[in-house]
């Protein structure tokens, strides 16, 4: 399955995941701490500069990941224009875009396996409550079963079309949920037969 990690190698890819996450936490904290549009502008400029060091393809990919923010940006911009509170609007928008762009930057430059390593380290204090093996197994099961369930949904949809000539629409949800329940029972049995989930 595709992750959001960018295939374009940037210098940030070589940095350790833990370091990037710690830097992101500090940066985000600072963003929510300051109220000056000037500093927030500088922060956003910094994030954009880091994106540009990865080259134009990387930066364009990053801009595409910000697209879901557009409706919010439009509403906030209109609202603050109407209220005649330009600096207040600038603070909100600069902070939001800088925070989301910086977080996306970490996601785009860190491989899934490195993220999971950090997660394992962070989850270690929880091990009496949640054994790391069990968490790892759960993550692997979800990643494996997303394509399995989507394929099942596609088959069920085709079968419905063949019978009725119409698209199934919402009628597909119950059989897909049933497929998930049945698969869960089968996988549980298979795990037990192989010595349990640990």
């Amino acid at each position: 399955m595709l992750t959001l990690t960018s295939p374009v190698e940037t210098p940030l890819h070589r940095l350790r995941a833990g370091v990037k996450l710690a830097a992101l936490a500090l940066f985000t904290f600072a963003l929510f701490w300051t109220r000056s549009p000037l500093w927030l502008g500088v922060a956003l400029g910094l994030v954009i500069a880091v994106y540009l060091t990865g080259g134009t393809i990387f930066a364009r990919h990053g801009a595409r990941m910000l697209r879901p923010l557009w409706p919010f940006i439009a509403v906030i911009a209109l609202w603050h224009l109407w209220q005649d509170d330009l600096s207040g609007g600038a603070v909100v928008l600069l902070r939001m875009v800088a925070a989301v762009a910086a977080a996306n930057l970490v996601t785009m430059t860190t491989r899934l396996s490195d993220m999971i390593t950090v997660l394992e380290r962070l989850a270690r204090p929880l091990s009496p409550l949640l054994p790391p093996r069990r968490l790892a197994l759960a993550i692997a099961l979800v990643i494996r079963f997303i394509p399995v369930l989507s394929e099942r949904a596609a088959q069920l949809s085709l079968a419905y079309r063949a019978r009725s000539g119409r698209a199934p629409g919402w009628r597909l949800f119950a059989p897909v949920a049933l497929a998930a329940l049945d698969d869960a029972e089968c996988v549980a049995q298979a795990l037990r037969a192989r010595g349990g989930a640990g």
Partner: protein, 180 residues
Amino acid sequence: MERSLTHIALFAALIAVLGLVPPLYLAGAVPVTAQTLGVMLCGTVLGARRGALAVLLFLLLVALGLPLLSGGRGGLGVFVGPSVGYLVGFPLAAFVAGWIMERTTLPTFWAATAGGVIGGIGVMYLCGITGMAIVLNKTLAEAAFLGLAFLPGDLIKVVLAGLVTQGIARARPGALLARA
């Protein structure tokens, strides 16, 4: 033990698969996705504890960088964006929906629908609107005005959650862990 684990994992995968369903557009602009239907189903089918854990597992995978939120969104950015409140509300909504399913003796459809309204709309909107108010620096009333655009779509999803839960109860009476 294995059964709990596999049910939690498979329903986390189900939320992701429902996020792939192309959204329905109400009034031409407001997208209605099936993803929150998956969140409600986690609660109404698996029950409070397992349902909330399934949603948490799903959010963990999103945070690790998989594009599993509807529209292919994911990564750490969504947890600082304006929709963060809704993401925080996901596991709470599943928990409340599951709790209502477990603790009431209403017929399956009505229990699941009530769970959907209180958990999937009440709790979810409370968290989501508070999150928007904080990130966008607006009052709760102003944020609520933005959030209410999604209400008609969510009412449809609540009824669907009721119907799907009832369908599961009929097809596999023992599989509805919330009522087992």
